[in-house]
C-alpha cells in the first residue's frame, strides 16, 4: 500500500483548487492562463499583511497566527483579485482562443518579473518567515480541505445555475448566446474574475503553508501545468479540473521509485493523454446519463400566460424603421428602407437572393450597425443598442444558418434563453429551476419536439433544428419574433405545421412575427402585410393580394415584360 503523507494531500488539494481557477473562465469559453499571476498576488498579499500584523498588532512571542486575521486576508485577496481581474477583463476578453491564452501568459510573466525586481516584494529572495496558522504543517490539510469544499461547491452551484448555463452557451456560440439575451462581455468578465479570486485565495493559504513566498511561485511552468490538469481531467466540468489537478500533482509521489525520471514521465503522460484521452477523464455530459427523463415533468395542462412588455401603448406601431441604410464598404446592402410593424401582425419580408433581407434582420437584432437611419421599438430609439440588450427588450430571432448549441441537449438549448428573467443577486445562484424547466418543456412540446429533450441539438434532423431555434426564441418571451426562413428544407406537411404554429403564436400569445421566406404560398397565406426588397430597396409594401399583382414585384422575380417578350 502506498503511503501518502498529509503534505501530498495538501498539494493535491492546492493543485485541484488552481485547476478549478483555470476551469471557471473556461466555462465561458475563455482559455485564460492568468491563474498563477493571481496566485502570486494573493500570496504576496498574505505574506506582507501577516508579517506586518505579526510585527505590529500581535503580542511578541505569539507563535500561532490567529484565524480571524487569516479570514481578513482571504477576504482582501478575493477583493483585490476580483477588482484587478474585473478591470483587466474588459480589456483582455476581447481576445479569443490562443490569443487570449498568450495575453494571459504574458500577464503571468510580467507579474513575475515585477515581483522579482520590486523593492517591497523582497526581490529575488522573496519574503521569509510568514506567520504560521498551525503549529504543525500537516494541520494545513484542514485549511485546504475547507477551502476546497467551499470553492468546489460554489462552482458546482454556479455550473447548475442560470449563469452557468449562460457561460456554457457563450462557450459554444457567443452570437447565439447574445441573441438569447446573454451579455457576453459581462459574463466573460465575471467568469475571469471568479477564476482570479479562486487563484488569489489559494495563494493566501499557500503562502502560510510554505512559510516563504517569492516570484517563482507563479510562472510559465505553473500555467502550463494547470492547463494540463484541466485538459487531461476534462474541460467540461469542475470535476475534470479537480481530478486532473489531484492526479498530476500526486503522480510525482506515486512515481517516487522513478524519482529522477518523473518529469520526463509526466511529459510523456501529458502527450499520451492528449492523444488517447481527447475528451478528458471526465467527459462532457458525464452525469447526464443517470438523470431521469426530464420530460416526465411535462405538464400538459399548463401553459404560460401571454406577456406584454410594451405596455398598452396607444400607438399601434411596435417597431419603426426610418430611412435605414447599411453599407459594407462600398456595397450598399440596404438603402433608405422605411416601414413599420403593427402590434400583432405577421409581416413577410421577401425578395430575390441578395436583396438584403437577412441584413435587415441583422440590423433589427443588433448584429450589424446601421450606417444611417433609425430603428424605434415602442417609441424607444434602439439604433445603438447591443444584441443582448435588444433580446432582453423582446426582439428575438432565429438564424438562417442555424446557431444552436450543438453539443448541448435540446432542453438545455431552450433553457439557455431564460437568462433575461434572472435576478442579478446571489439568489440567482440557487434559484429554483423548476418553473423554468416547466416552461421550457411547454415550448418543446409546442414546437413539436416531443421526446427529444435529452438528445443533443446537433443530432436532430434539419427540420427539428429549425423548430428548436424557434422554441429557444420563444423561451425568451419575444415581443417581436424574427424568423429567418423558418420552413427551409421542410416537406409540405411540416410546412403547414409550421404555418399553424406561427398563427398560434400570434393568436394565443400576441407575438408580432416578421418572417423571411422563399416559399411563396406560405408567405401569401400567412402574412398580413408583405414588404418586397430588391437590391436593398423597398419596391412594394402591402397586402398579399396587392403584392401578387404588383408590377415591380413581378419584374423583380420574373424579369421585365420586355425581357419576357
Amino acid at each position: 500500500m502506498l503511503e501518502i503523507d498529509s503534505f501530498v494531500l495538501i498539494t493535491m488539494l492546492q493543485q485541484a483548487l488552481l485547476g478549478i481557477s483555470l476551469y471557471v473562465p473556461l466555462m465561458s469559453g475563455q482559455l485564460s492562463l492568468a491563474s498563477p499571476a493571481f496566485y502570486t498576488i494573493g500570496g504576496y498579499l498574505a505574506a506582507l499583511l501577516s508579517s506586518a500584523v505579526a510585527k505590529n498588532y500581535l503580542p511578541s512571542g505569539t507563535e500561532i497566527y490567529p484565524w480571524t486575521w487569516l479570514l481578513v486576508e482571504l477576504a482582501l485577496a478575493a477583493l483585490l483579485c476580483f477588482v484587478l481581474a474585473y478591470g483587466m477583463g474588459r480589456l483582455v476578453l476581447r481576445l479569443r482562443g490562443i490569443y487570449l491564452a498568450l495575453a494571459t501568459l504574458a500577464l503571468v510573466e510580467i507579474v513575475r518579473v515585477l515581483c522579482l525586481n520590486l523593492e517591497w516584494t523582497g526581490g529575488a529572495i522573496g519574503i521569509f518567515s510568514i506567520p504560521q496558522i498551525y503549529a504543525e504543517q500537516q494541520s494545513y490539510l484542514w485549511l485546504f480541505f475547507l477551502l476546497f469544499v467551499a470553492v468546489a461547491s460554489g462552482v458546482v452551484c454556479l455550473e447548475r445555475s442560470v449563469h452557468g448555463q449562460a457561460f456554457r452557451a457563450l462557450r459554444e456560440d457567443e452570437f447565439a448566446g447574445a441573441a438569447m439575451g446573454i451579455d457576453p462581455a459581462r459574463c466573460k468578465t465575471l467568469a475571469f474574475a471568479f477564476g482570479a479570486v479562486i487563484a488569489g485565495i489559494t495563494g493566501v493559504a499557500s503562502a502560510h503553508l510554505l512559510n516563504t513566498w517569492n516570484a517563482r511561485q507563479g510562472n510559465f511552468d505553473s500555467s502550463i501545468n494547470l492547463l494540463a490538469y484541466v485538459m487531461i481531467g476534462g474541460p467540461w466540468s469542475v470535476w475534470g479540473g479537480v481530478l486532473g489537478g489531484m492526479l498530476l500533482s500526486a503522480l510525482p509521489e506515486l512515481l517516487r521509485p522513478l524519482q529522477d525520471y518523473r518529469l520526463v514521465v509526466n511529459g510523456s503522460l501529458i502527450v499520451l493523454a492528449s492523444l488517447y484521452l481527447p475528451k478528458g477523464l471526465v467527459p462532457d455530459r458525464f452525469w447526464q446519463r443517470w438523470m431521469k427523463d426530464p420530460e416526465r415533468d411535462f405538464d400538459p395542462l399548463w401553459k404560460p400566460d401571454p406577456w406584454n412588455r410594451v405596455g398598452s401603448t396607444d400607438a399601434t406601431k411596435l417597431l419603426e424603421i426610418k430611412a435605414l441604410t447599411v453599407r459594407f464598404g462600398g456595397l450598399v446592402a440596404v438603402k433608405d428602407l422605411q416601414f413599420d410593424l403593427q402590434k400583432g401582425e405577421i409581416f413577410g419580408l421577401i425578395g430575390p437572393n441578395g436583396a438584403g433581407k437577412t441584413t435587415v434582420f441583422n440590423v433589427l437584432s443588433g448584429f450589424v450597425k446601421a450606417s444611417a437611419g433609425q430603428v424605434l421599438f415602442a417609441n424607444i430609439d434602439i439604433t445603438e443598442w447591443s444584441v443582448y440588450h435588444r433580446a432582453r427588450l423582446g426582439i428575438l430571432r432565429t438564424f438562417q444558418n442555424l446557431r444552436l448549441l450543438r453539443q448541448q441537449s435540446v432542453l438545455d438549448n431552450i433553457l439557455s434563453a431564460r437568462h433575461r428573467f434572472v435576478s442579478k443577486g446571489l439568489g440567482s445562484l440557487v434559484q429554483e429551476r423548476h418553473s423554468a424547466r416547466k416552461e421550457a418543456l411547454y415550448w418543446l412540446h409546442f414546437c413539436g419536439l416531443k421526446g427529444q429533450a435529452r438528445r443533443l441539438a446537433g443530432d436532430l434532423n434539419y427540420g427539428d433544428q429549425r423548430r428548436l431555434e424557434m422554441a429557444r426564441a420563444l423561451m425568451a418571451h419575444p415581443e417581436i419574433l424574427l424568423l429567418d426562413e423558418p420552413v427551409a428544407g421542410m416537406n409540405l406537411k411540416e410546412k403547414s405545421g409550421m404555418q399553424q404554429l406561427i398563427l398560434q403564436l400570434r393568436d394565443e400569445f400576441g407575438i408580432t412575427v416578421v418572417l423571411i421566406e422563399h416559399h411563396v404560398p406560405l408567405v401569401l397565406g400567412l402574412c398580413d402585410r408583405i414588404a418586397v426588397l430588391n437590391f436593398g430597396q423597398l419596391i412594394a409594401l402591402g397586402s398579399p393580394a396587392e403584392i401578387q399583382n404588383h408590377p415591380a414585384v413581378r419584374a423583380a422575380y420574373l424579369g421585365d415584360d420586355k425581357e419576357l417578350g
Binding site: 500577464l107 518579473v113 510559465f220 520526463v264
Partner: protein, 306 residues
C-alpha cells in the same frame, strides 16, 4: 547609440530566425508548436557536445571525448538532427490529432507535453549547469571587431551575418518559389490544396523539419553568443518567440522577421539600471500588441462571419 542598435539587431535577428519556425507552423496549421522551444535547447546542447567533445554531466556522468568537430560541421549535424526530431514530433504529437480534427487547444497540450519531456530529458543528461562554447576554437572569427567607436564581438558579427542571410534566403524562397506557393495554398485551405495535387502531408512534415532546423540554428547562435544557462532557456526563448510572432502578426513570415528585430531593439534600449525588467519587455510588448492590434503589425484583421 549605433552600438546599441547593432547589439539589438544581433539578438533580434536570432529571435526572428527562431520565430520564423513558429510562424511557419502556425500559418500552415493554425496551431502553436510549443515543443519548438525544447528543440531549440536540444540543438544548442548537441552542437555544444559535438564541438567541445563533452557529453553528459547531469545524472549521466560527464564524458569527455577527443572526438571534436569543427563549429560549422557540428552546427550542420545538429540542424539535421533537429529537423528530423521536429518531423518526428509532428508524427507523434500532431498528426494523430489532425487526423481526428481535434480542437486547437489539444495541440497546445500535446506539444507542451513533448516540450516538458525533452527539456527534462536534457536536464537528466546535462544537468542545470551553465555551458559555454569555446569561442577561440572557431576559426576565421576574430574575438573583437572594432570599427571607429563601435566594438562588436566577432561572434556577434557571425550571428548577425548568418541570421540575416538565412532570413533573406527563406523570404525569397517563400515569396518566389513553387514550394512557397504550395505552402501558401496549404495554409489557405489544406483540403483544396490536396485536390490540386499538392502533397499536403509532405508539406507539413517539411515545414516542421525546417522549423526544427531553424530552432537548432537559433539555439546554437544564442548559446555561442552568450551561454547555455540550462535546458529551461529553450522554453524562455520559446515564449519570446511567441511574443515575436504575435507582434508581427501570427503566421506572417515577414511579420516574424519584423517582430524579432523590433523585440531585439527594444530589449537593447532598456537602460542598464532597469536591466532586471529586460525579461518583461517581450511580454509587455506581447500584451500591449494584443490589446492594441490583435492581428499584429503585418497581419490582416480577423473577420468573424455571422
Amino acid at each position: 547609440m549605433l552600438q546599441t542598435l547593432l547589439n539589438g539587431l544581433c539578438i533580434g535577428s536570432v529571435y526572428a530566425l527562431f520565430a520564423l519556425g513558429y510562424a511557419l507552423v502556425f500559418s500552415l496549421l493554425g496551431v502553436i508548436n510549443f515543443a519548438q522551444g525544447a528543440v531549440f535547447a536540444v540543438g544548442a546542447y548537441l552542437t555544444w557536445s559535438l564541438n567541445t567533445g563533452s557529453w553528459g554531466g547531469g545524472q549521466v556522468p560527464l564524458w569527455e571525448t577527443s572526438f571534436r568537430l569543427s563549429f560549422g560541421l557540428s552546427l550542420g549535424i545538429s540542424m539535421l538532427f533537429c529537423a528530423g526530431l521536429s518531423a518526428f514530433i509532428e508524427r507523434v504529437a500532431f498528426e494523430p490529432l489532425r487526423r481526428r480534427r481535434a480542437e486547437p487547444l489539444l495541440y497546445l497540450v500535446s506539444s507542451l507535453g513533448v516540450a516538458i519531456l525533452l527539456v527534462n530529458a536534457l536536464l537528466l543528461i546535462y544537468g542545470a549547469e551553465t555551458r559555454n562554447f569555446d569561442l577561440e576554437a572557431i576559426p576565421f572569427i576574430p574575438v573583437l571587431v572594432e570599427w571607429g567607436d563601435i566594438r562588436l564581438r566577432g561572434i556577434q558579427v557571425l550571428i548577425l551575418a548568418v541570421s540575416l542571410a538565412v532570413l533573406a534566403l527563406l523570404i525569397l524562397v517563400f515569396r518566389f518559389s513553387l514550394i512557397g506557393k504550395a505552402l501558401r495554398a496549404v495554409a489557405e485551405n489544406p483540403a483544396v490544396a490536396g485536390l490540386l495535387g499538392i502533397p499536403v502531408q509532405r508539406c507539413i512534415v517539411y515545414t516542421f523539419a525546417l522549423s526544427g532546423a531553424l530552432a537548432s540554428l537559433a539555439g546554437t547562435l544564442v548559446a555561442s553568443g552568450f551561454s547555455i544557462p540550462g535546458p529551461h532557456f529553450g522554453l524562455l526563448f520559446g515564449l519570446k518567440a511567441l511574443a515575436v510572432i504575435v507582434l508581427g502578426g501570427m503566421g506572417e513570415i515577414s511579420g516574424a522577421v519584423l517582430g524579432g528585430l523590433l523585440l531585439g531593439l527594444f530589449e537593447a534600449f532598456v537602460p542598464a539600471e532597469f536591466s532586471g525588467y529586460k525579461e518583461a519587455v517581450a511580454f509587455t510588448l506581447l500584451f500591449l500588441g494584443l490589446m492594441i492590434r490583435p492581428q499584429g503589425l503585418l497581419g490582416r484583421p480577423i473577420l468573424e462571419k455571422l
